[in-house]
Symmetry: C2
């Protein structure tokens, strides 16, 4: 098992990465304020891992309230959030009751937001069971829900007490979800870690074959990056925004196609190709670099052509991005492989060219 | 105009108290991150003060988005919160758009919670127009909404950038609302400020007659108390809970009678008499002290007899209180006039005696 730390003074917390961690309740116990937890999970993950987690906690006299939600991005909304509140209140969960998120990014974001707002804040623990959640969404305290007008529009910055990434849970992950997680892994290489990007070029087959050593390394390196960025800029007043490479385009894809039709990681991959194309048009990336990015996404089983929503629809959806300032969309682009930048100075015709030329004519 | 400060390091903010402050947009402008604001108010307050506020801001090139909600505690819920989000999103409000709460406690709590969670947090300003909001709810960053199973169960600690208490707005306040505000004013005397309690005994007629000097003093002294307590314990891990004198009983009254039927301040007054009765039974207050408290509430036009919900119903509703720990209700009681304490050690028979003997046989 490897241990990393997210350094945020009194809100610092560990990330534990390893195999079979779900079978070790002793890793969780020291982080509970009270021997009562509510485990929030979904109908897909519950049959796989809920009993194991409950059994270990119950053996240690922890009272467990399981809350099982429907599965999918389409349920990351205020109705589902209210289901959590109803269950917490009817079970009389208290300010020292710890919420445990057992699942992927949707479960983590919903649970974190419930924890941030139930009784004005209760402790929570992330147990991510997808690659995407293990390398990205479970770390850093971004929580929230979608709104019909935009993704993650309602939420809070609220840090967990512990992130427990059990690599063994990836054995049951569908291939499509594995690929989606790799999109965020590749992101770290692109924005700040060229050696890692090159390592990924060399080792993508191993990752796709779920080689435990390779996965473990990729998760650790990704979490290190995420922890560093979050520690330096918890509330995204600056550099943290760089983690959103491909996300402004990607969120427009997810929202424009209907939540859940494109997985988040898939939309990020196609969105990153759009960002790379803008970066090329701006003269920062050459054709060869764009091809390398494209090839890596393809190797990872990810889509590289965004859906053709029409440039106007894209511009409209992107105008709702959380990074918009003074009415101007701020883009995360690539200065070169391994270095990102944030800018609002993109000529509209450049943007329109990308939005109409990089899409797939379905 | 008087200026107080809530000291919370980088989140410190001023409380301005005075007459005709709504006519002075210059007090607000320095606190805006961007020349765009959304003013959240209700159908009662809007016709009285919204135009004045908008006009002053518009003269200074501030773009204003007004959001007018239905009035009343019954609307402090997730549906109304969603109305705010819908309006903010459809008007493309950004992370630097400031939300302004123009109204009483319900508007302040709703707006604060919307600000805490819209785009994971945007700045907000409190412009309280009721006495209760000016002396209590607008200061200290407690925000939130009710849930059918309990009051203020969903929310966040989120501090405003400015509190602007324009005493002139109290001229249009209904008598019943003025009295409700006085319940929280009296609270500060009871829990930590005996000289203020005695001042209130001497000056209640002036306050009821809306004497500006007396009101101004009472508001300033209340805000000083609140600011001190909040600065010492922002997230209510200790002493801040003392501000909840009468509130555990009071929330049960409000929820048990249906939100909006008893005003919050009315429920706090009757709830405080219950707390005083328990304190008397514990041997901390003598009959004379209880009578003094009762007389002061009566002078303030407040109810002193709680509704007879039945002891079991009270115990059930109070078991949902946010201060419950390990299944035990924690009560704020009076050690003596001017000093409160928090305890879970109240014999059930004592509590049941209070719950069945201090209520009005309606």
């Amino acid at each position: 098992m490897q241990t990393l730390t997210v350094n945020l003074n009194e809100r610092s917390y560990p990330i534990l990465i390893g195999e079979n961690l779900l079978h070790q309740p002793g890793l969780i116990l020291p982080h509970l304020a009270q021997k009562q937890v509510a485990i929030i999970t979904n109908t897909t993950v519950a049959p796989l891992y809920l009993d194991t987690l409950i059994a270990g906690l119950a053996l240690n006299d922890v009272k467990v309230i399981p809350i099982i939600l429907p599965d999918g991005e389409a349920y990351k909304n205020s109705e589902t959030l209210n289901l959590i509140f109803d269950a917490l209140l009817s079970n009389r969960c208290e300010r020292k009751t710890t919420l445990i998120a057992l699942g992927g990014g949707v479960i983590g974001d919903l649970t974190g937001f419930a924890a941030a707002t139930y009784l004005r804040g209760v402790p929570f623990i992330q147990i991510p069971t997808t690659l995407l959640a293990q390398v990205d969404s479970s770390v850093g305290g971004k929580t929230g829900i979608n709104h019909p007008l935009g993704k993650n529009m309602i939420g809070a910055f609220y840090q967990p007490k512990l992130v427990l990434a059990d690599i063994s849970t990836l054995s049951t992950l569908p291939d499509r979800e594995l690929s989606a997680g790799l999109a965020e892994v590749i992101k770290y290489g692109l924005i700040r870690d060229l050696p890692f990007f090159e390592w990924l070029e060399q080792n993508m087959e191993k990752l796709m074959a779920r080689d435990t050593v390779a996965l473990s390394y990729a998760i650790k390196r990704s979490c290190e990056s995420k922890a560093e960025v979050v520690a330096a800029d918890e509330h995204e007043s600056g550099q943290r925004a760089l983690l959103n490479l491909g996300h402004t385009f990607g969120h427009a894809i997810e929202s424009g196609m209907g939540y859940g039709n494109w997985l988040h990681g898939e939309a990020v991959a196609a969105g990153t190709m759009m960002a790379a194309d803008v970066s090329r048009r701006m003269g920062w990336l050459d054709d060869k670099a764009v091809t390398r990015i494209r090839s890596l996404f393809v190797k990872a089983g990810l889509p590289v052509d965004a859906p053709d929503l029409g440039a106007n629809k894209y511009l409209d959806l992107m105008g709702l991005d959380k990074k918009v300032e003074g009415g101007r969309i701020r883009f995360i682009l690539l200065k070169r492989l391994g270095e990102a930048l944030i800018t609002a100075d993109i000529p509209e015709q450049t943007l329109r060219a990308t939005l109409s030329e990089t899409v797939a004519r379905v």
